[in-house]
Point group: C2
C-alpha cells in the first residue's frame, strides 16, 4: 500500500498557526505517513520576514516568493495560513492552476470569495478544504458537509468568536463593564491591539456566512449577514439578563425560514437562558449548536482559536486532501444547489427584551402597550418599577418579525412619556 | 456532472432505524440526489415479518431473503440496521464479495469483529462506514478518524448510553433510588424490558472498544474493555457526590498511557465535577469529550439513540459512500498501525472516593491511613463523622494505579475496626 514518493506541501505563512503546522508535520511525521499512506514533506515555506529564526524549519525551505512556490509544479498541497484577501486569493487560484490542492484557514477570504475559489478547485479537479476557518479546532465544517449530508439543517446557533466570549464571560462573572473586561482580554492576549474585527462582530459574521452556506447548501455572502457588535453591552444588561434567568452571548445565528424558502444569517449579542448548553461556554471557548430534522440538537464545543488548535484542524484537512490525491479523487465540493434567497434582518422572527425609562404617572403602561399592539407585537411580560417621578418599564415580547420590533421601538421613542430606551436585546435559544 | 443511473441501496432491517432511513430516502430524495451527484434508489428491503404494513415502502421491494438481496450484484450500498452478530456479519461480508459498500449501525458487531470486516472491505475495494454505531446522531467517528487525523488523541471520555444517563440524571435530580428511576425509564420507553445491556455497561463497552480503536489507531476488542455496570449506584452515592461538588455518570473512558506505549478502555460509574461539561448532560442525551495534543479539549453532544437521529448518521454515511463510488474511490479505512497493547484495569491511574463504616474509637483513622500508605496510595482528603459508637469515614485519594487502590480496599476490609465498605467510586474528569 505504501508508496515512497512523498507528497509535497507548500506552507504559505509561518506565524502562530503556520509554525505549529510545520512543527506537527515534523514531530508527527511517522503518524502522518501511516494515516495518509505516504510520507508528507514540507517542500517550501513562504514568509514575509526570512531573517526571523524559525525553530525546526530548514532555512533552505524558506522563501519570500510565495508565487514562485505555488507555481513550482511539484507541490501536491498548498496550506494557506496568511489570512486576509490578497495575496491569499491570488495564491490559492494560482495553486489550483498549477495542480495543487489547497487547505486554508482563511475565514475572511472564504466568506467573501468562497464561490469563486470553489469553482476554481472544481475546474482544476482539486480540493479546497477549510475546517480551520471556522471555530478553530472544532470539527464543524466536516460534520456539517459530510455527517449531516443526509439530513436537513434548520438552524445553526453558535459562539464562534473567543475574544468576545472571553469579554462577555468576564462581564457576567465579575460584574465588570465592557471596557474593563476588554482591557483584561487585551492584557491576557485574548484581544488584539485593535479589537474591532472581534468586538464589532466582523469575524463572527464571516464565519456565519460560511456556516450558513454549508448548512443550507446555498450561497451566503458576507454582505448578507446582519451584524451588530457587542461594545454597547453593559453591566446593567447582564443584570437584566440574570433577572430573566439568562446570560448574554455574542451569537452567530443561521436559520432556515419556517416555510423553508429562504434563509437568514446574523450576528448580534443576545440573551440566552442559563440552562441552554451555550450559556455555560466559558472563557475563549467556542461552541456551535446545530438543529436538524432527523438528528435533532447537536453541539460542538472546543477551542476556537490559537496556534495548536487551528493547526490541528489544518492537519486533519491536510491528511484528507493527501488521501484524496493518492486515491485520485476529490472530496465533497461546494454545494449551493438550493439557491435560497437570503432574507433581510427585518424578516427574522425573534423576541426582544426592552428596558424603557418612562414618566412615573398613570396611563404610561397603557400607552406603551398600545404601541406594541399597533405594530402587531405581542407582549409576554412587563415589569414596572419606579420612584421620584421616574420609572422603568421592562418589556419582554413574544416572537415577532424583527422589522415589527424595530418599528415598535421607533414608535416608543416618539412617546412623550418615554424618556429613553435604555437597552434593547434579542432573546434567543428558547 | 449528474449521471442518471441511480445508485441502488439495499436496506437490511426495517425497524425503528430502518424505517426512518427509508422514509428520509423518499422525502429527501431530491436533496440526496443533489448532494451525491446521482439519484439513490431503494432497491430492496430485507425484513423478518413481510406481512407488516410499512408506510411509504413499496411492498414489491420487501423480501425475507436478505442473503439473496445482498447477492443480487446490482446493489451499490448495503445499509445494515439489523443489529447483533449473526446474520449481520455474514450479510456484510457477502455484500462486500458481491461488490457493495456497507453502512452499518451495528456497534456489537463492529466491537467484536471490526478488524475482519474492515479487512473484507479492503480486500474488495469497498467502504465500511459506521457513524451510527456510536452515539447515534452525534458526528464522532468521522471527526475522530478524519478531522483529528493530523492530531494525537490522548483521551476520550464520554456518556455513550442514553438509558443509563436518563436513570442517573433522574436519581440526581429527584433523589430517587436506582429501581425507581429504572422503572420510570422503562415506562417512558428509555429502557428496554430487559435493560441488562444498558445498565450493566455492555452497550457502552462496545462503543468504548470502537472509540478507543479509532482514537488510538490500534486494535481494541470488546474483551479488552473493563466494565462495571451502574445497578449498585445508590441515592447515598449521589449525596456523597454532591458533598464533593460532583455528580455521577456512567462513563466510557479510553486513555493513552502517560508514556504513550499502551492504552486502556473502561466503562464504569464515576463521580465528575459539576463544572465539567459532561456533568450537565441531561436525560437520554449523549456527549463525548475528546482530548488531543494540538486541538485540546473538544466535546460532541447530541441525541445518542432513536430512529430519526440514528437514521441521520446512517444517511450521512450513505451520502459519503455513494460519493466515493461515483468518484471510484474509497474513504479512509481502518487504521490500527500503532498496534499498542491494551493494559488491564489495574494499570489505570485514577482517584477513588471511598466510604467506610468504622468503629468510633481512637486510632481508627491512623489504622486506615496506614493501610493507604502501605499500598502507596496518597490521601487527598478524609472526613470523619460519628455517633453512638458507629462512625463513617470518607476518604478521597490522589491519583494512583487502580490495582493499588483495589489492594487498599481489600486490606481495609480485613481491619477489625472497619465494619464495612459502604461504597467505592472512581473520580474522573478533573
Amino acid at each position: 500500500m505504501m508508496r515512497t514518493r512523498p507528497l509535497k506541501v507548500a506552507l504559505l505563512g509561518c506565524g502562530v498557526v503556520g509554525s505549529e503546522v510545520a512543527r506537527i508535520m515534523t514531530t508527527h511525521a511517522d503518524d502522518l505517513t501511516a494515516r495518509i499512506g505516504a510520507p508528507v514533506e514540507l517542500a517550501g515555506v513562504a514568509v514575509r520576514r526570512p531573517s526571523k529564526v524559525r525553530e525546526g524549519i530548514d532555512p533552505a525551505l524558506v522563501t519570500t516568493d510565495a508565487t514562485a512556490l505555488v507555481k513550482r509544479g511539484d507541490i501536491d498541497v498548498v496550506v494557506e495560513v496568511i489570512g486576509g484577501i490578497e495575496p491569499a486569493r491570488t495564491l490559492i487560484t494560482t495553486a489550483f492552476e498549477h495542480g495543487a490542492s489547497v487547505v486554508s484557514a482563511n475565514k475572511a477570504l472564504l466568506a467573501q470569495d468562497g464561490a469563486a475559489l470553489h469553482a476554481a478547485a472544481v475546474e482544476h479537479g482539486r480540493d479546497l478544504y477549510y475546517e480551520a476557518a471556522v471555530a478553530g479546532a472544532i470539527p464543524l465544517i466536516r460534520p456539517l458537509r459530510e455527517s449531516l449530508a443526509g439530513d436537513k439543517v434548520n438552524r445553526v446557533l453558535g459562539i464562534v468568536n473567543g475574544t468576545t466570549n472571553f469579554i462577555l464571560d468576564k462581564m457576567d462573572t465579575t460584574g465588570a463593564g465592557y471596557q474593563e473586561a476588554l482591557d483584561e482580554a487585551t492584557a491576557l492576549g485574548y484581544a488584539e491591539a485593535d479589537p474591532t474585527a472581534d468586538v464589532e462582530g466582523f469575524d463572527a459574521a464571516a464565519k456565519a456566512a460560511i456556516l450558513a452556506g454549508i448548512a443550507f447548501h446555498t450561497r451566503v455572502r458576507l454582505d448578507d449577514v446582519y451584524r451588530e457588535g457587542m461594545t454597547e453591552v453593559t453591566a446593567a444588561d447582564f443584570k437584566s439578563a440574570k433577572e430573566m434567568g439568562c446570560t448574554i452571548k455574542l451569537l452567530a445565528i443561521c436559520e432556515r425560514a419556517a416555510d423553508g424558502e429562504s434563509v437568514t444569517a446574523r450576528v448580534h449579542p443576545a440573551m440566552i437562558p442559563l440552562d441552554h448548553p451555550l450559556a455555560s461556554v466559558r472563557g475563549a471557548y467556542n461552541a456551535v449548536f446545530v438543529e436538524s430534522d432527523a438528528a435533532g440538537q447537536l453541539m460542538f464545543y472546543g477551542p476556537g482559536a490559537g496556534g495548536a488548535p487551528t493547526a490541528s484542524a489544518v492537519l486533519g484537512d491536510l491528511v484528507a486532501v493527501c488521501r484524496n490525491r493518492l486515491g485520485g479523487a476529490t472530496g465533497p465540493g461546494d454545494s449551493a444547489y438550493t439557491q435560497l434567497p437570503v432574507s433581510p434582518m427585518g424578516d427574522v422572527v425573534t423576541r426582544y427584551h426592552i428596558s424603557l425609562d418612562v414618566a412615573d404617572k398613570p396611563g404610561v403602561l397603557a400607552q406603551v402597550a398600545t404601541v406594541f399592539a399597533e405594530h402587531g407585537v405581542s407582549i409576554d411580560t412587563v415589569r414596572q418599577s419606579g420612584k421620584d417621578g421616574e420609572a422603568s418599564l421592562v418589556v419582554v415580547t413574544h416572537r415577532a418579525a424583527d422589522a415589527a420590533l424595530t418599528g415598535t421601538v421607533d414608535a416608543l421613542r416618539q412617546l412623550d412619556t418615554v424618556r429613553g430606551v435604555a437597552s434593547i436585546m434579542r432573546v434567543e435559544g428558547e
